[in-house]
Symmetry: C2
Subunit: 614 residues, 2 copies
């Protein structure tokens, strides 16, 4: 039943040999790796607008200059990652690059930052996507948490099924987004050329509530830096490209960066040129689209394609996060279940973990992408900086021809992303960046603690130095707790007889009275060869008197053996019936487990089921 339901949702299991990866051509690869980067536009523009509008027209006049600065930063980072692709053609995730070149702690820091970044990408993309569609249909605003969670469930299920067709099905929304946005921007540029002079901002901007200062500019710049998130995606997945893989990957990266730059600069420039301003229930991109193409079907097309590309971007986290947790789990920094490959050849535990954490973020931040963004950039730029710095050392170590140029480019990347990280950390600290600043080291500590635990366990379990033991062991002593004489007891006693000749039945008397005599008479009738002991339980507990009895018999026999417990267990015909039966067997097992923890006792338990047919 449970399995059927599961297979209905996720599809039936796939055999291991289907694991081999499909290789993608550039068109498909762009669709597979770019959504996260391209869609960043949807929240970066919004954040810059919100950061500047409070300073009125003076603030809004800085939109294009800030966009220009961020586009330059994008250029440096893209060049830098082009080097990473060359240096790590087998896939150079930030964790791998940082760990190999800078050592364990920087590697784990990059890993933690990366995990945080993936979770935030999913949460920010979904909430920003919902904001895009709610800008078109304002009646959806009150339901935005539910819509975001609904999309999250759909994406989770799709990923649990395993996204074998990643290139094809993803390509539709990505190219739809590209065509509709590029078309809109070109149309806007023509309109701007016809208009000639920009709309004066003083006429449209709301009155300034704050003076324009350095902090405000830094703040808007930091917020806009989220435009760069996702640019590293291609460097993680070089192996998915057709050969020559690294050449194609690098070309795709350049195409992607150019597209990002055009979309970002174009949309920011037109927003400023036309003096577009958005109200509280609309995104700035939606206001721009409304201004350029009016409120007709083209507008709705733009909003839907924004939602679609953001949903696909959230989906890329579901490819990346489980892969990173699996790598960390393989290195024993995370629970080993995250390395298990599920029925559908995906890291299902990683997918479920990401889904749960994303849901927590969406709910905790009330479905508001603006509140999530300050946490976002810290993780992304930490990973950028560490990975670029690692690349510098990589080139310096290898010293292959042209290493100086390569090291310089990566060094420049590390420097500008590092400085940006510092600016973000300062200017966004109180708004939420502090959360990321706390979470990343906490994750590193968690990773180290987990590995220490696994190392401790592996020492404890090592067979090293153990002599081979071949002597035959004496047959065990056996104790059977008895509640009443029933058919299930027959199986238990018979099994006891088959493995031991020292069997004791123990009846825990919770309700002193004539019961005891009757049950002893019955026992002696059915099982005359098995000793029957009655233990009083003045406090009506089954478990404690049984445990003390076991210890007592062990003490009395003093033969170096621990009595083995045989539990006759009734299995109800359906799980609904379980509520109608005392769960004594379960209770005893749990108590023994607990006691084992306390005292180190390792008592063997034999479960003899008796299956009820109705």
């Amino acid at each position: 039943m449970q399995n059927k339901l599961k297979y209905l949702l996720t599809g039936s299991p796939l055999p291991s040999q289907m694991m081999a990866e499909k290789q993608l051509n550039k068109i498909r690869a762009l669709a597979a790796f770019s959504p996260d980067a391209l869609s960043s536009l949807a929240y970066a523009n919004q954040e810059i607008f919100l950061g500047l509008v409070i300073a009125g027209s003076a603030g809004l006049s800085l939109q294009f200059p800030i966009a220009l600065a961020i586009t330059l930063l994008l250029g440096v980072v893209a060049l830098s990652y082009a080097q990473t692709i060359r240096g790590y053609p087998m896939g150079g995730g930030s964790y791998t690059v940082a760990r190999e070149n800078l050592g364990m702690l920087p590697g784990l820091t990059a890993g933690g930052a990366l995990l945080l970044d993936y979770i935030l990408t999913a949460a920010v993309s979904l909430t920003a996507g919902v904001a895009a569609i709610a800008s078109a249909f304002p009646e959806l605003w009150p339901y935005r948490i539910w819509i975001a969670l609904g999309l999250l469930v759909v994406i989770t299920v799709i990923n649990l099924r395993g996204l074998r067709e990643s290139g094809t099905s993803m390509a539709v929304p990505v190219y739809l987004f590209l065509i509709s946005f590029i078309g809109m921007l070109l149309y806007g540029l023509i309109k701007a050329a016809i208009q000639g002079t920009p709309t004066p901002l003083a006429a449209v901007a709301p009155p300034a509530s704050t003076a324009l200062g350095l902090f405000l500019v830094m703040h808007a710049f930091s917020a806009g830096c989220t435009a760069l998130t996702g640019v590293e995606a291609i460097s993680n997945g070089v192996t998915a490209f057709r050969s020559p893989a690294w050449v194609n990957a690098r070309k795709t990266l350049i195409i992607m960066a150019v597209l990002m730059g055009f979309l970002f600069l174009g949309s920011m420039g037109l927003t400023q040129f036309f003096g577009v301003v958005a109200g509280p229930d609309e995104t700035i991109l939606s206001a721009l689209a409304r201004r350029l193409v009016g409120g007709g079907p083209l507008y709705y097309l733009v909003q839907f394609s924004t939602l679609a590309v953001l949903a696909v971007a959230a989906n890329t986290s579901f490819a990346g996060f489980p892969r990173v947790t699996a790598i960390l789990a393989e290195d024993k920094f995370m629970p080993r279940q995250l390395f298990n490959v599920g029925d559908r050849l995906v890291f299902h535990n990683g997918i479920l973990l990401l889904s749960a954490l994303t849901a927590v973020l969406i709910i905790a931040f009330n479905g508001n992408s603006h509140a999530l963004v300050p946490l976002f950039a810290v993780g992304a730029f930490t990973a950028f900086t560490l990975s670029q710095a690692g690349m510098v050392l990589h080139w310096v170590r290898l010293k292959e021809p042209g290493w100086l140029v390569k090291a310089f480019i990566n060094g420049l990347g590390a420097l500008v992303t590092g400085v940006t990280l510092f600016v973000i950390g300062i200017s966004k600290f109180l708004e939420g960046a502090w959360i990321s600043v706390l979470v990343i080291p906490a994750l590193v500590i968690l990773f180290l603690t987990i590995r220490k635990h696994y190392q401790g366990v592996s020492v404890q379990l090592s067979m090293h130095g153990l002599p081979p033991s071949l002597r035959h062991f004496p047959r065990p002593r056996v104790v059977i707790p008895v509640s009443s004489i029933h058919r299930g007891m027959v199986d238990a006693v018979n099994f006891a007889r088959s493995i031991s000749d020292r069997v004791t039945a123990v009846f825990i008397d919770v309700d002193p009275g004539p019961d005891e005599v009757g049950i002893r008479r019955q026992w002696d009738k059915w099982f005359p060869d098995v000793e029957f002991v009655v233990v009083e339980s003045p406090y009506r507990s089954l478990v404690e008197p049984l445990l003390s009895f076991l210890e007592q018999t062990d003490d009395e026999h003093n033969d170096g053996q621990q009595a083995v417990l045989i539990l006759p267990e009734l299995i109800p015909a359906s799980s609904w019936h379980e509520i109608l039966h005392n769960q004594s067997a379960e209770e005893i097992k749990k108590a023994l487990l607990f006691q084992r923890r306390q005292s180190g006792l390792q008592r063997i338990i034999i479960d003899v089921p008796y299956h009820l047919k109705r």
Copy 2:
């Protein structure tokens, strides 16, 4: 740890011999049994007011006449229960009386009605108590659900501790309530005598929104009948009185009925006389108190004592409900866990069940006693009617001196409560009585289904006709699943050797590769006498290949035996560590349990724990 926390809340366990009941004198008995009945006032008045006020002054002029009719009904019911006390001096709950005299189905109907009644008493008393205190402090209205749930938690914990001192601690709020209310009413009567003529209702009543009609009157009457709930309490607890128990119990019942009548008629009469009207955020009793004693400390005293007596009334459900579920469980109509006596000599499962159901009602009905009341009267009057009807047959069967009078009184009781039940059912049906009308038969069906299950199980488990089996059983065949060679495996293999000479180790290969060869070499080094089998798992599952292997070996051996499974299980040093380990042993056990359900296979599982120290 878990136990310590539990004992901190509920106190340490008590031995069984403390079970004997304390006997109460009349003063304490009144305090123990009357709160439910006396406090009914708090919601009955409110319901009559709300039912009539919509018909304006014409409606409000019927307050006193309706109160008079209900008081007469109270007289009949009290007399009738005085007969029950005589007939069932060992305690005559509605379930017992109806089952003994009318048969199983009426008995179960009364039992179901009683359970529903207890849950609703708890929910209505708590929400009405919170309404009383929120009338005095209007700022508490928004938090009324939380306050009601908080009180519920306190009452639950007190009852889980076991209320050994029921008479004493309960007496304070009950007598406080009696004194403050009787005092207030006497003062009001003097005031009324001075004023002479009643305040004209036309001057104070809000305009009528409905015409006064028969249905409206029936409706208000039905709602007011909740004043009678709790009147049966003494008849359930005759044994708690000092001897001659039934005489004292009967006297206490009469005193209680007189007090109820005085409080109810007095408060309703004064409300009408002074033309008291309440707004939406105040109860009518609060408005009356404000009118009579002003807004000073006396007013707050009255409101606090109302809350206190209502909390105590909710508490009486916690004495009654677990007792009825225990009786039903003993008769196999409810899960047997409800008959277990806990550490503190209380039926803790019944208490927890009542608490959970009450919380559900409070939340589902938004902490609004007015919405709960329509469900309430149906249960109470069903139990009344069935129990009185049962008493008629009781007297007719016994034919002791004076039986005709006794049968007549109970017959009258049955008749008037039956008619009232009908009126309530009709007039309150759409407002919520339909829920009770559905729930009571559903409970009866549940009771019968549960008993049928237990009877089926007891037939299946009966030793009847089984031949005594004394032959020695052959030693079992044993299979050990292997994940890797570690110290825990040594214990498992040694135990296997001690009970069997046919041991097979099986390695489920989820990841084909060089693993297999390495592990086989290690195995042969450490356990050369134990056969080692590798099973491929193309779908990476541990469980299914293991289960098929077990079935296959059973088929091959064809010796009428089922292989026994030995599971080496690592026990992490703390439960926090469990998340870091694959729960394979648990998974295998669950799958076997599930498979057993499907196929009737009853495979014995031996759990060999290995205890990690850190």
